[in-house]
Amino acid sequence: MSPVLEMRSISKAFTAVKALDQVDFDCRAGEVHVICGENGAGKSTLMKVLGGSYRPDEGEIRLDGAPVRFQHPREARAAGISIVHQELSLLPFRSVAENIFTGMEPTRWGLLDRRQMDERARALLQRLGSSIPTGAQVADLSIAEQQLVEIAKAMLLDAKVLVMDEPTAALDDRDAHALLRLISRMKAEGVAIIYISHRMPEVMAIADRITVLKDGRLVWTRDRQDATVNAIVTAMVGRELQDFYPARAATEPGQSVLQIRGAGNRHLRDIDMVARAGEIVGIAGLEDSGKGALAQALFGDQPFTQGEVEIGGKPVVLHSPRQAIAAGVGYLPGDRKREGIVPRQSVRDNALLTLQAMAAVLSLPNAGVRSVAEADRNLRTMDVRAGDFGQEIATLSGGNQQKAIIARWLMQNPDLFVFVEPTRGIDVAAKAAIYETMRALANEGRAIVMISSDLPEIVGVSDRILVMHQGRIAGELPGGAEEGAVMQLALGVTGNAAEREMV
Amino acid sequence: MQLRTILAATLAVAFSTTAYAQEFNDPAEFKKQRELLSTKAEGPEGKPWEQHLGGGMVDTAKFKKDGPHTICFSNAGVFNPWRVVGLNNMKGEAELQKARIKELIVLDGEGKDDKQISDIQSLLDGGKCDVLIVSPTTTAALTPAVEAACEKLPVIVFDRGVNTKCPVTYIHPVGGYGFGITSAEFIASKLPKGSNVLALRIVPGVDVLETRYSAAKSIFDEAGINVIGSEFTGSDRAKTKSVVEDYINRGEKIDAVWMDAGDTATAALEAFEDAGLPYPVISGEDQQDFLRKWQKDNLVAIAPSYPTYQWRTPIIAALDILDGKQVPGPEWNLPQPAITQETLASYIDERMPPLHYSLCGCQDLPGYPEQWGGK
């Protein structure tokens, strides 16, 4: 069977950097072709070339055998290439139907045909197994629902080629599984699907073929049967990663650093938990289980309204991030771009920000030369790769930005660290580095609370796992527990039902 | 110097589109106002706001009505001290006549023609007014609204006119040419031929101001006095001072300063003080700060006026009209005196604020001086 899409010798350079170098890629009708690669490997650039956002410097794209050149995304879209973007591209204040039809609005007598929009949107969503009301405003939907709208938008035109760029990054396991089921269905309908992901289990579950990119070059393309996780990871990072997850704590955890009794607020109820020095406590749960709310409460961002919290044995009030920081809490936000970095400031200033925030208002910005040196040392410890720490942080890759924010907290030396989705959207090598840092921080006697939607990560990294369901802690599991057991608690159902959900 | 000319010319060419300026040089009006300046006023002695210079009388019997009356006033706005003092005069006059007035309704146009038109409309719709006084923002713009009002009420227009004869009377002092004539003739009389005068003006394009400059310019030309510059200051003291400083720094000799309105006169004088130069001959206006400085520093100066007492006249006219008495009209020319060295002392009142206009004719009104900001 000849491929629907062929990309031949695609090259694209930005000023000095070659983002793509002679990359060949193709995709057949009815197959799922997964692209793997570290951040910066060129995956997104390749897809932007395909989608008409970038024009390639050299190379050729053929669709159904005919060469095409896209000047604008609209041309790619018209040619049958649909892209589900990693960053949501929705309009928050418009309805679901309006969002799905953006740029493709049906008209009747030259006017918007809203009835047709509603009907077709409803049909599309039904096909995706969703019953989101088409008139709902997108801002009122959950992230998962928004992701579905995004997919419906991409499927509006009977696409020949459907590109999904980390579509499960924002989804919890339940929603991710639903999405994977959908993909198999579309595959059966003969759509050529290009799928980008960092989640290895997912990749192995749905791929027909796998392509690995590294540093803008094609490493290899193989059938799934001929690829192993190890081979993929090795190809991605260029070396073997034996111990992806670091070893668990060798010693027994020490004294309790964090103790919560009977705490709750609008989203949380009856929270009792302990985190001890030297351990990593994983918090798992579905999207709306309250695990995010727990992190926010621990950091005083959305405070507890009842119950008691002790840190280091002393009762504390956590009504604002500042109070939490003063009480010895560090916090790595889940959304790096919106909640982590201050993009136009230097890498160094980003690392120094909390120190500056907690210092006396009119003190020297860097509290003396010492702190600059310390910031640089921490940045180097975290292996932040930047030409110069004075460079704007927005120019760094996501993984490096994340490391710089961890460096920010190293300056603060907190007793309790809250990590929210620490590796979301980060490539494999940076992931491993972050896990190692977390373990090292724990080994130095800190307590770590890690909130994550990534089940393997929860299971692989945590010493203990707390699973949340409907605003409560539904149960506790030891580190290394079966993923299924975690899921079972997260869903709040019996074992068999959970198994069914998983399929 | 040559470079400057070239630069200026290039820029001017680059920017000049269809440069268009309305003609403000009306020799007939110039002549008329020059005559009016020396016309003997008719009316009560010492009450210039009740006097008139020549002109006829109009019969108003048809407007006779039983009192007390509601007088409505559509004001252009109170965007400068002159209008603030004026409005206080009008309110003072109304207070003085309160036995005959039920209410004085004042709507403020905020300097927007469009709003003033609507204001007049809503006064008519409100149905309370017995007579309407209008001080228009711009002549042409308010004409249709005034015409509409004339059909329902007796209308009195003052300060600026309208392009219609329908109002019962149009009250105004001699006018802009008169102002320019008085001030420029004084300066010309104090300086030899070939002297330099700097003209400081507020903004371009305002009829009542342009005529002042046009009159002064022709007198200076006649007398052989050079107008070395004509600059707009926007009534901004800092700007005025800077402009004068720039002229001084340029090394030009300034023998006299002519101003089309006096509110920044003291700022202009300060520029000379700061530069350590003697004061020039100057024409200002009848504000207290200028008069005091004049007296204190023995300036060679004159203060022509566009007297604020004209704001009293419309109330008087309105009541007369509603009583069916004859009033001067259709144009009511008020005297437009100037303050000279001889009369200076009598116009200075230390109790009054610096920007108070001395020719307010308000000394006998109730509430003086507190209502006018005095002590």
């Binding site: 309009l91 | 371009p204 394009g205």
Partner: protein, 328 residues
């Protein structure tokens, strides 16, 4: 692009659900009626009084409708005041009272304003200059050229043109009808056409809109052209109403800042993507009824300014205070 997905409890009922324009219109009516009753001028609630009220909305309303387009695409237009002056002056200068010049004069004004809109659009959308700075600058340039070229009231419009501003049709003043037609057209474009939907998309999420195949730059340019066209109509209306334009009617009318204020008071988001015509009309009605009420109460000119400032803040804060994020 982030979509505000903070899980708001699903108990959004009551006051929060009432659309902003409705609240603002109710407020405007309340203020006006209260003023009329308290000051014993109940006749201001008559047809004549209300017509007078509507008449006050025309100029600002027209500009505001155009401004709505600019703000909806996430831009802003500060050049409208200068453009209004320019159009008003140009119209009266070209007509010089000659009815045969009405059409050429209007054509020239429209052409000029479309040009200004296009320049704004190019600077903002294609050159990437911050819209505040870009339109402030074009406004300054226009104002300067205008004041330098026309030092005074230049000519006057043709009498038959002027009549348009003063005539009634079925008891309603023509200008009010003009505003109504314009508002209806604007509403129609925004709510019923693809172009309108695309404007919302361009403002709500420019990157997303581009990926969905929209030509965002063209849309922003289009919105600016519409904003300038609306300012042109307002300028022509003012020229007709005032017989001749002065080079400062736009500036004195503060049409730039006031038009932004009414759009925002009407619930349109300054960042774009949300809002609409009804809100703008509500905003201008609020301003007009304030004006009329101040008149009825005889509020002192300076105090009026104080109250207006306070009300602008209060009106916007009523719903802005619900925002959970940071505002700058």
């Amino acid at each position: 692009m982030s979509v505000n997905a903070t899980p708001v409890a699903m108990t959004r009922r009551g006051f929060r659900d009432v659309p902003v324009p409705v609240v603002v219109i109710a407020l405007a009516a309340l203020i006006y009626v209260t003023a009329a009753i308290v000051t014993g001028q109940a006749n201001q609630i008559s047809a004549a009084g209300l017509t007078g009220l509507l008449q006050r909305t025309v100029a600002l309303g027209l500009v505001g409708l155009g401004q709505t387009f600019a703000i909806l695409v996430g831009s802003i237009d500060l050049s409208v005041a200068a453009l209004i002056s320019t159009v008003a002056v140009l119209a009266s200068y070209l007509m010089q009272g000659d009815p045969s010049m009405i059409v050429p004069a209007i054509a020239a004004c429209v052409a000029l304003s479309l040009g200004v809109g296009a320049i704004n659009g190019v600077l903002v959308a294609y050159w990437g200059i911050n819209p505040l700075i870009a339109t402030l600058s074009t406004g300054l340039i226009l104002q300067g050229l205008l004041s330098a070229s026309f030092t005074f009231l230049s000519g006057s419009v043709a009498p038959s043109f002027q009549a348009l501003a003063y005539q009634n049709l079925l008891g309603v003043p023509l200008p009010v009808l003009l505003l109504a037609v314009f508002a209806l057209a604007a509403w129609f474009v925004l709510a019923k056409t693809r172009f309108g939907a695309h404007l919302y998309a361009a403002g709500g999420n420019p990157d997303g809109a581009k990926l969905a195949g929209l030509r965002v730059q063209r849309l922003v340019l289009g919105a600016h052209v519409i904003a300038s066209f609306a300012a042109c109509v307002a300028g022509l209306y003012l020229a007709a109403r005032l017989q001749s334009g002065t080079p400062w009617i736009g500036r004195d009318g503060i049409y730039d800042l006031e038009s932004i204020a009414i759009v925002v008071i009407g619930g349109t988001l300054l960042s774009g993507g949300k809002g609409g015509v009804l809100g703008t009309i509500a905003g201008v009605l609020l301003f007009a009824s304030l004006d009329a009420s101040f008149n009825m109460f005889g509020v002192d000119a300076f105090l009026k300014q104080v109250l207006r400032g306070a009300i602008v803040i209060a009106a916007v804060s009523v719903y802005a205070v619900r925002n959970r994020g940071h505002v700058a």
